[in-house]
Amino acid sequence: MRMSEESGQQKSRNTNSLGWSGKLAAKRTRWFFLSVIIIVGAISGFLWVKSFSSPKSDLIQKQEAAAFLREEETKLAEQLIKDFPNSEVPLVLMGGLQAKRGNSSEGMIFWEKALRLNPNLPNVYCKMAEIASGREEFEKAIELWKKALQINPKMRGVRNDIARAFIWLGKYNQAVAEAEEEIKISPRSAISYYLLGQGYLQLKEYDKAKFCYEKVIELEPNHPNAHYGLAGIYMRLKQPDKAREHMDVYKEWKDGRVKSVWNVDKAGYDVVGSQKSLGTLLMDADRLYRTMGKGEKAEELLKHTEKIFKKAISLAPAQPHVQGYMHRELALLYLRMKRKLPEAEKFAAKAVEFEATAANYYVLCRASEMNGDLANARTAIEKAVELEPENMMYRQTYELIKSRSR
């Protein structure tokens, strides 16, 4: 107390000793500090207000939209497990969801639970085999695929997977045998002939490998890998001109590849991928509810998903490729469920408005067709073919629509 009194007196003495010029200087300093405080305060206030009013960046919007969709997908999968505790179907779906998100160990647990409820699930064995194969556990993968075949020996494509795994293991004779078996049930499978060719190539049976690659090209004339394989064989057979011929086809395909917009926009891809995934789960859930006689619940679910899709669309940024894709997916949802078809056409048209891609035109064609508007369907599919003339599905659809609209 004493100390402060003394210092106060000292201060007063110092002020008195300043005189007029000193007082003026002190006054200016006070004003200066006051002005600084006011300016800093004003800037901070401006920034604070701006933080509420400024739009979110595209990246943040995409992150929020994707996170929202993923959360909804998880909720739906969990709901299914609750609603159908004695069914293996929700467990299979949840396993798939976990595996898709990179939690393959979790996925395996759900699939194993599903198999305990119903051991006759060949698709589940196939999914488990894919995980094992991805972990470089090829023997285990083969065992799982073979279990799937025990349940359903006519399953297409499984022997191709087994052949591929045998190739990784360096067991080429087994690979060849599996591919040959697959060809018996899928005689027009280009991939089976390709794998057969790869097996023979490793066995150095070049003539047989050459025959297989040629067969692939007969089935799929622009199959790049088969052309690459043939070029390699002709090089070994000392026919460089033939090798160059096939390598040129391969190079042409390679150089003609268009860099997708999603290569750059990974965050956007995350949004549309999440939306697509939720759409697929919804389809499965719809089927399950209806099979179990819970049609009302299915309707509720559709309404709920519609809301989710629309909210995700509003959360996502206004970039044409993102919005175009999301509108198309919503249209597809209606089409696949054969409900709200006029809405489907509206959303497909909106997708085209955002981005005039072949895929968007194709969905518009299908929506128009299902609404009975063949003229519009024909115009849309013509655009799709024009944009992607190589796409066989578009061409076939075009022919079909053309014949029907005559």
Binding site: L59, K62, Q63, A66, A67, R70, K100, R101, G102, N103, S104, S105, E106, I131, G134, R135, E136, I167, W168, G170, Q198, L201, Q202, P224, N225, H227, Y228, G229, A231, G232, M235, R236, K238, P240, A243, R244, M247, Y250, K251, K254, K259, N263, V264, K266, A267, D270
Partner: protein, 567 residues
């Protein structure tokens, strides 16, 4: 139920028990059987305090996670191999009290190293990605070239333990680019070393893209950006270089270059160039002997994998794995792709023999980087070492099949053209789990076998001492050019020892953006004598050295026939 057994039955039972025990013992012994290759982790004993940073800005710039290589070379000509570690730089957004810098460690013998970066003047603070050592001025000591994100650096060795930054006068800063692999080579056989720089992607802070996978932030791949052409500099012989990327035919091709190696794959006496491109076809530049190149990767069969798929190629080494006198290539790659072994067929073509040889074992589930064809067990054939580690630091969050930190892989050559993954049985050194990038292979303790030094992203390095039980003989050869380049870069060495015929070349820059092995090592197995060593100097003649003992370090001088060596 019987409670008693007869004496005969008891005897039989006893014999069965003994037999069972013996079988069990055999099984147990086999289970614990050590591999012929054994590495002991001696990192802590070395006194090396270097810790790598990748710049970790939080922005996930593409130049961070690819990290860097390292160089193993004898900078002070004292007969032992020193280490130069590259380091990341202070990228935009990073905060460091002191800017990180590269580090030079002098080998003091007995596995002790001293940090001589400051005295040496080689502490570049750029964002280091690749390094090569070569005597570009032919003064008898090795200079250092560093490829950065930013301007590159050439350090001239002053011969007294110090270096001088001569980048500007030499004209090799390469512009502000995301550099990758680099090699010195004598492309035109004129007796001095030219310089190749592979450039990664056209990345700038302004065009940076941050990716997302399943809701998690990640580093984007190279295809997000445009690919630049590589750069080739011709040595003018006066301490300067001229950019010949255009006239040489190199800049006609754009790729996402990473590791690279130079070698005479077609045995025509000149040096060709292999560039590993990340998610793009690899380049194989065939030299016409004058420094003009034709890109033949696709036709030669080394551009893609077996299916014609472009790989996420990272590092590349060349060596003769099957002792047929031809250089083969081994290329590391991204997750879900196997590293690839390309066997040289001798007619300009290669065959992808990854599957048939087993050379891809242990490489599919993660990302693979530094690699080398090295005879670790001195049995007369080259094994393969692969540095492993994912490039996404949070990969476990969205893919539980793989990990950021992972053990490295060693593939033992069985001598019949096959490889076996012996990583699990090859000592504590192979159990280290970090995110490895560059790897260098040299005899760090001059005991006749090859040790390993690994640069780990964001962590301390790993130093592995080769403690393999092998009693195989060996020879190590150092070349001295007199008319051709002083370090003998590009020279082909053929060692004949009984029925064993081995070849190798002197490389400056190899593997994943690093440098090692200028002192050539040949494992000789049980052979106790070397019948001859033939050296084909690049742009020069052929010298043959005869009747040489084993387990020696030799220096072979161009134009001479006598061997200078020590046991």
């Amino acid at each position: 139920m019987r409670f008693f057994i007869s004496g005969r039955e008891y005897g039989l039972c006893f014999r069965y028990k003994i037999a069972t025990l013996l079988v069990l013992l055999c099984v147990l012994c086999r289970g614990q059987a050590a591999s012929p290759i054994f590495f002991h982790d001696v990192t802590k004993e070395t006194g090396i305090a270097f810790k790598h940073t990748d710049g970790s800005s939080g922005q996930r710039y593409i130049v961070e996670n690819v990290s860097a290589g390292l160089a193993l070379f004898d900078y002070d000509n004292d007969g032992d191999i020193d280490i130069y570690f590259l380091n990341g730089g202070a990228l935009k957004g990073t905060k460091f009290k002191e800017p990180p810098k590269n580090a030079l460690y002098r080998n003091d013998g007995n596995w002790r190293f001293t940090d001589v970066t400051k005295e040496g003047g080689v502490g570049d603070t750029g964002h280091g990605l690749a390094v090569a050592a070569g005597d570009y001025d032919n003064d008898g000591d090795l200079d250092i070239y560093i490829s950065n994100f930013g301007l590159n650096v050439l350090y001239r060795n002053n011969g007294d333990g110090t270096f001088t930054d001569v980048t500007k006068e030499a004209g090799v800063d390469n512009g502000f680019q995301a550099g990758a692999g680099t090699c010195f080579l004598d492309m035109d056989k004129d007796g001095d070393l030219d310089l190749y720089v592979s450039n990664y992607v056209e990345f700038t802070y302004e065009n940076h893209v941050q990716g997302r996978v399943r809701g998690f932030p990640n580093y984007v791949g190279p295809t997000t950006y445009s690919f630049p052409p590589d750069s080739l500099y011709c040595n003018n012989g006066d301490g300067t270089f001229t950019d010949v990327s255009g006239v040489s035919g190199i800049s006609e091709h754009r790729g996402s270059g990473m590791g690279m190696v130079c070698g005479d794959y077609d045995n025509d006496g000149d040096t060709d160039i292999f560039v590993a491109n990340d998610i793009a076809e690899n380049f194989l530049f065939q030299n016409d002997g004058t420094g003009k190149f034709e890109q033949v990767g696709l036709m030669a069969g080394v551009a893609c994998d077996l299916n014609g798929k472009e790989m996420g190629s990272m590092g590349v080494d060349c060596g003769d794995y099957d002792n047929d006198g031809l250089l083969d290539f081994y290329v590391t790659s991204f997750q879900e792709q196997s590293a690839s072994l390309y066997k040289n067929l001798g007619d300009g073509f290669f065959e992808d023999v990854t599957l048939v040889t087993g050379a891809g074992a242990g490489t599919i589930n993660n990302v693979t980087w530094g690699n080398g064809f090295v005879d670790f067990d001195n049995d007369g054939d080259r094994d393969i070492f692969v540095a492993v580690g994912h490039l996404q630091d949070n990969v476990e969050s969205w893919d539980d099949r793989t990990t950021y930190h992972a053990p490295n892989v060693i593939l033992m050559n069985t001598g019949d053209g096959k490889f076996v993954n012996v990583s699990q049985e090859s000592g504590d050194g192979m159990k280290v789990k970090l995110s490895s990038r560059g790897a260098g292979f040299d005899d760090m303790d001059n005991d006749g076998d090859i040790d390993v030094v690994i640069l780990n992203s964001r962590r301390e390095p790993t130093i592995l001492r080769n403690d393999s039980p092998s009693s195989g003989h060996w020879i190590q050869v150092c070349l001295r050019g007199t008319k051709t380049n002083r370090g003998g870069v590009g020279a082909r060495v053929k060692v004949t020892s009984g029925k064993l015929v081995l070849i190798d070349e002197v490389h400056s820059g190899r593997g994943y953006q690093g440098h090692h092995g200028m002192r050539l090592h040949f494992g000789l197995g049980k052979n106790e004598k070397v019948d001859s060593i033939e050296v084909r100097w690049i742009g020069g003649g052929v010298d043959v050295f005869k009747d040489i003992g084993v387990d020696k370090f030799l220096t072979l001088t161009e134009g001479g026939s006598k061997v200078k060596g020590e046991g």
